[in-house]
Symmetry: C2
């Protein structure tokens, strides 16, 4: 069933109004009419079945019916911090991290980032990433849209990280040194409702300086095995292990 | 260090000859000359440091020096069977499955596949997928190139599957039914050097018929959690869990 994230000011106790692009999508793309049912999700992640009562091209009114009982959110909060990559790969990471349950995605310029972040285009780019996250959250049937953030350096990512219970740096160095069990030790320390920060490097990996800074600032270096993964592969694989630990394991 | 997979007939006891595209890459792209060292890997997955002794644009001769001790291959053999997807997504799955350690990748037409496999272009397409697998194996520092195969139906994939110790079907249905622990039970049954077949559906998922056929033919339905993943996301996430089970877990 089609899902829409609807801002809090569009809800009353028993009705919800959808406007703009969402109304267009319901009316023109899905060709729905009064009587059809959609799922609307509010800003707190509460999802309800909503029956359309009035349909116009730019305004859809629905009656709120029963709530959905299924919870598709992970019991932990995961932040993916990704050193700047080429735009298509970064967009891909936003989409995939959302599917895999991340709570927020933060970009930062890494020492080896080839792509330079254009401050003038910053607002437009962040809005585009936020839209990708929203579409991916709807498609993967999530109840929350990850927040898209931006920091000016790895240091800023890590220094603002004091509310995190765990900080991991994904490290090619660890992969080459056979330190493969570190991630298992780290996974086993996760507790219900913990907050975890994952730090991933750009195409060229982290510099020695960044690697040392991360460890000084409390990151645990972990690897995903003996093979060297491309930058865009590591976030999905790491998130899969977190999902396994908190949702799939008996 | 640069890696090349070299056919068995190009090796003698203490020398190896690289030709064609590989010689071009060493001579023109990497601009190497006598004295430089590369890694060559033979058809059995044995890797050796090789010092260049003669360099010409279309022929590089090397002296075989010591062998590499690191093993980047998984102790299990994984086949990824993927219902036909759009070409860019299929290529992506070949690249990512190779990075994550798959042993072979098999395409087949699924009931909901939108893309139709063009038999006339089959040989050319398979060669392209094989090349992507080779490049990805070199980049991820593997010792073996996954084989690229093709079957005519899901039934053919499953019926030829008798040498497999485990067969899993990744199922959206299981994800929606909260059967999330099945994958944990299945992972815990893996033994060293087992052979496992993973079956993934196309963009629209498997048909009811395919789902039932797979289960009749011995597949265990497993899910990757409560969120609905896009077709191209599921193989990477599943392979991450297999890597965890056989390589990362203490």
């Amino acid at each position: 069933m089609q899902r829409y994230f609807v801002e809090d000011d569009q809800w009353t106790a028993d009705a919800v109004i959808l406007k703009g692009e969402q109304a267009h999508h319901i009316f023109r793309v899905m060709r729905m009419s009064p009587g059809d049912v959609i799922i609307c999700i509010n800003g707190q992640g509460k999802a309800s079945y909503c029956r359309i009562t009035q349909a116009e091209p730019d305004r859809i009114k629905c009656q709120v019916e029963e709530g959905l009982s299924s919870d598709t959110e992970l019991p932990i909060h995961i932040t993916v911090a990704q050193g700047d990559l080429k735009a298509d790969k970064y967009e891909w990471i936003v989409q995939k991290s959302t599917e895999m349950g991340a709570g927020s995605i933060t970009g930062f310029p890494a020492d080896h980032s080839v792509v330079k972040w254009d401050v003038k285009k910053s607002e437009k780019k962040q809005a585009r990433f936020q839209k990708i996250a929203q579409e991916s959250a709807e498609q993967s049937e999530r109840l929350k849209i990850p927040t898209i953030e931006r920091k000016t350096s790895l240091e800023e990512v890590l220094k603002e990280a004091h509310p995190y219970d765990h900080k991991w740096i994904l490290s090619e160095r660890s992969a080459r040194k056979d330190h493969h069990h570190a991630i298992d030790d780290a996974l086993r320390q996760l507790q219900h409702s913990d907050r975890i920060l994952l730090v991933f490097g750009p195409e060229g990996g982290f510099s020695t300086r960044e690697h040392e800074t991360a460890i000084d600032l409390g990151c645990t270096p972990v690897s995903l095995g003996a093979r060297i993964l491309r930058a865009e592969t590591a976030p999905v694989a790491t998130l899969a292990l977190l999902v396994y630990q908190v949702e799939l394991k008996r």
